[in-house]
Symmetry: C2
Subunit: 353 residues, 2 copies
DNA sequence: TTTGGCACTCCTGTTATTAGAGTGCTAAAC
DNA sequence: GTTTAGCACTCTAATAACAGGAGTGCCAAA
């Protein structure tokens, strides 16, 4: 069951080699690669053991071995030494986040950085509204029975929603309602606000002040039919994946790209990571989605103001350079979180010259 | 040079057949298909003429013929009879646009309808800002030196932009400025507004009223560094294209998908159609983009309030069912335009029950 | 002008063959 | 006991040879 150090080392070497060139690794190749001064025959014995343990497998009798999902799992959990970011990548990333951007652009930058540096597909979930705190809300009369609700959240994003009201509201009513709302709910998370609102609505509406009533009306329309199909997912560089022959069969590729455009499954997968405190790696079938059978997903949550609000990561073939990818995903999450948090402190953008 | 009716008919039949099954069409097949009671030998003579004229070509000596780009061009220009929409497609489209939607959702619906009904990639450009008219503008103080500009355009879209000001503005200043702006510029197109503003700025600012000065400051920040990289293009169903073997080679597919994610070239191509009054069809190389070498693009402009503001269409292999695709694109453009225009008349959405 | 006939070309799929890579096993060497 | 050389074996990938079929162009006859 447990591996002796030599077997571990050979597994590590084999996987590194396979990640490099994508070819099954044979005993002779491995013997040279490992530099252990062991003959291919000895290596073959060890490889037979590793196969027995389900860590590697042979595509066919006379090919070398390739890692199984389990093999990769052991590799990333116990054998992998991540490489620090290169100085140039670091500079590039910092540069990208340093320039003036709004939150939407920041997320697109993050996604595109992830894909360009790793040459894999980059994904960023937009902050889950429930998790982010309310900073400011305003109501704006558009026409007789239509009000534009402007919601600014802690991460600096501005949300718009047009709601149809059951009676006209005067501008002053709207201002009062907004004031009431801001005083009462600012800095609370949207899910809190929703929760409190549900409670308030139980109360006798006769007892409410005018402003409060108005605010309640708005809020109901705003939060109740929040369809939230706004599957917020920024994907970049999908086409890099076409270069990997192991994902090659058109049918598989089709499924994968369908997953990218449907977004639902991906979003669901990424959402799992939002509850984890650190990075997560889903290897092959571990993700539970058929389209990702041959893929690995590396994710990291990002924080705004200390609070985890979203996740980002990359998708690529199981054979990816984990030791490079991991620190890149990690750093991107930090930088994005930092840029979004920095925003709320008022340092967003630069004053015009 | 000119085709006799029989040759035309055979060209039409050949292209229809090729569009159907994607196989080169031989003389025997064509003779049966055409139902003209002509022997394959006769057909061969005609086919030789058509090849001479550059309308069809043989992939190799002993294959049948396939249409050239020129052949398709003649086909769509002079031989094609479009088929009316099926009742079920019509219902489906109307249903999609009838339900309550905001402008962004409408565009996504249009794109997704296009792709699902044609089983090709659907594309919709978001309205070019310059072309759409200003309906309402508001300024909202976010923090000391930051103002949120809310711009509502004629198509019902709400645009947000945070600008950094050189001094704090009081809420009443902002309200006055907005009033001034709305009175002066409402219903003008954004490009007009920009143009007029440029003129105004030349004037002696001493002579301006306070509100006007404030408005000018806002406007300058708003319009001047309008980066407009917000390459507004909604693409759906790209993955349908993977099913077509003629686009098959991974390298070509890769280029095509790169074009989809870069968006720049596509946007540029679609923008050409904005100046045309009706539908446009780019066949193969006609589009001028290498990635679209094997593709055709069918586009139609859509109107908000009588004014063309954007275009939409589909991208597929040159071998696409033009007679079906054309009316679908046409109708989608009408419906999207109608839905966006309907919005501004105040019929947007439904009053809550 | 149309058609049947015919020789010819080229693709496609099948089969056979070979070279090469890699394996597992055994027996000898360390 | 571990390691290694040797060897027979397996499977793939590449190549060539071949047959079948689809389709063509051209010619001469209808």
């Amino acid at each position: 069951m447990s591996l002796n150090p030599r077997a571990e080392f050979l597994l590590k070497t084999l996987i590194e080699r396979y990640i490099m060139d994508g070819q099954p690794v044979g005993s002779r190749t491995l013997s040279r690669q490992a530099g252990l001064d062991l003959s291919p025959a000895t290596i073959r014995n060890v490889m037979a053991d590793l196969e027995e343990l389900g860590l590697i497998q042979a595509p066919h009798t006379s090919a070398g071995r390739i890692p199984t999902a389990l093999g990769y799992r052991v590799f990333v959990d116990t054998l992998l030494k991540v490489r620090p970011l290169t100085a140039s990548d670091m500079r590039r990333m910092q540069g990208e986040f340093a320039s003036e951007h709004n939150p939407q652009q920041l997320m697109e930058s993050a996604s595109s950085l992830l894909s360009q540096i790793t040459r894999l597909a980059g994904i960023v979930t937009v902050p889950r509204q429930e998790q982010t705190a309310l900073r400011q809300i305003e109501f704006l009369s558009l026409s007789v029975n239509r009000v534009l609700v402007i919601l600014v959240t802690q991460d600096g994003r501005v949300h718009n929603r047009v709601i149809n009201t059951d009676r006209p509201y005067s501008p002053s009513e709207l201002v009062e309602a907004a004031n009431y709302f801001n005083q009462t709910y600012a800095a609370r998370s949207l899910s809190e606000v929703k929760h409190i609102l549900l409670g308030e609505m139980q109360k006798d509406s006769e007892a409410m002040q005018q402003a409060m009533t108005t605010a309640m009306h708005m809020a109901r329309s705003l939060f109740m039919d929040q369809d939230d199909t706004s599957a917020g997912l920024v994907v970049s560089g999908e086409s890099y994946l076409m270069e990997f022959p192991e994902l090659g069969s058109i049918a598989k590729m089709r499924k994968l790209f369908d997953a990218f455009s449907t977004k639902r499954d991906l979003l669901h997968l990424l959402d799992q990571s939002i509850h984890a405190t650190g990075m997560q790696i889903f290897i092959g079938g571990e993700s539970g989605y058929q389209a990702l059978e041959e893929c690995s997903v590396v994710t990291a949550p990002y924080r705004v103001d200390g609070q985890i609000v979203g996740t980002l990561g990359v998708i690529g073939p199981t054979r990816m350079a984990y030791e490079h990818v991991i620190p890149i995903v990690d750093m991107t999450a930090r930088l994005l979180g930092g840029a979004l948090s920095g925003d709320q402190a008022g340092t967003y953008g630069q004053a015009p010259g």
